[in-house]
Amino acid sequence: MAKRKSLIKIKPKKYKDGDIVKVSFMVMHPMETGTRKDKKTKQVLPAKYINNVKFAYNGKVITTLNVWETLSTNPVFTTYMKINGKGNLTVNYTDNTGEANEKSKKIKPKG
């Protein structure tokens, strides 16, 4: 299974316990709708799109996204979360072909 390139961004970069920060998850994914054709082979490209994204903070799911093929190629998802102690933010995402991946980022509040 191809490892996808992805990135989690937290804004602002410095935060402390209790802060509400912006979390963005970006991933390189084609988000094929199933209606497009390959320019060279003239074959219809099968649908391939992310259908589920889960944000979990220290094992507790805080946000679940159900996603359809109508989102842009290389999608970006931005939401907020409340900082509540050291740990990990893990993003699990799956697509309609069964591909599953994970990306995580350390949460280190200061002060």
């Binding site: 990135l7 963005s24 970006m26 390189m28 290389n74 970006v76 931005t78």
Partner: protein
């Protein structure tokens, strides 16, 4: 037709054009939204992957600085001065070309200038100079001087079936005019400062592209013979436009329509 009537007609045409443009022009709020998108540019992932590529291939920034014969502290300033004449190459080179040299020196087969990996690698290297101002010096030596003159010539010379030059759509006289619902941009530091904002994520292509690659797309659509990447002429064009954006702050990756 009398000259007087001609002028009136063309004026009428111009005003109708600009009116047509206005109804489709984006509002400031819309522009602000697109600027906000820079915060989460999908190309950030690719720039990061370019960083990993550099580490994997040669060991990171230190090896790059050594190759450029500068200290790591001066690396950002040095990169902000590309394209430049490098003695080892005996020619004016872009960042991408210098990276091909770096890869060759470390015993790797260089990435092709058109390859996605080269786009990632060169975008990362240029992003080292983020926050610096473009400091290309076209009077540094005779080689870059010659390249600049050639670039200016390439920019101004009409070519192709329609007799178009870069200048036809990007001269002060027509900047801001709407062509196919998009306003024609000022490529210099007074406008979008292309040299400071490319490589960029191209939304229409859903991928990361370099400036010369964009030139090629423009040439193709304007029915001009496409100048090959890495050729003396293409580098010269980049030299010319980089000089136009001199002093602009580098912010890589950019985000373009």
């Amino acid at each position: 037709m009398k000259p007087g009537i001609k002028i009136v007609l063309s004026l009428a045409l111009l005003s109708s054009l600009s009116f047509g443009g206005e109804s489709f022009a984006m509002s400031d709020a819309d522009r602000a939204m697109y600027t906000e998108m820079l915060e989460n540019n999908p190309a950030d992932i690719l720039v990061e992957s370019g960083n990993e590529l550099l580490e994997e291939l040669v060991g990171g920034d230190a090896a790059l600085a050594a190759f450029y014969k500068v200290t790591e502290d001066d690396l950002a300033k040095y990169i902000a001065g590309f394209p430049r004449y490098i003695e080892d190459f005996k020619q004016v080179v872009t960042i991408s070309q210098s990276l091909q040299g770096l890869m060759h020196k470390h015993g790797h087969k260089p990435f092709k200038l058109k390859s996605a990996k080269m786009f990632e690698l060169s975008s990362y290297v240029k992003s080292i100079a983020n926050g610096e101002n473009i400091n290309i010096d076209i009077n540094a030596n005779k080689h870059i001087k010659k390249s600049y003159a050639m670039g200016e010539n390439n920019y101004m010379t009409p070519r192709g079936g329609r007799g178009l030059a870069c200048n036809s759509c990007h001269s002060d006289a027509v900047i801001g005019t709407v062509l196919r619902t998009q306003p024609l941009p000022d490529l210099s530091s007074k406008g979008v400062a292309v040299a400071a904002t490319w490589p960029a994520y191209r939304m229409t292509k859903s991928s990361l592209r370099t400036l010369p690659r964009r030139f090629q797309g423009c040439m193709k659509n304007a029915l001009l013979k496409v100048i090959p990447l890495g050729s003396e002429e293409m580098v010269a064009l980049e030299v010319y436009l980089t000089h136009q954006a001199k002093g602009s702050e580098i912010a890589i990756p950019g985000l373009k329509r």
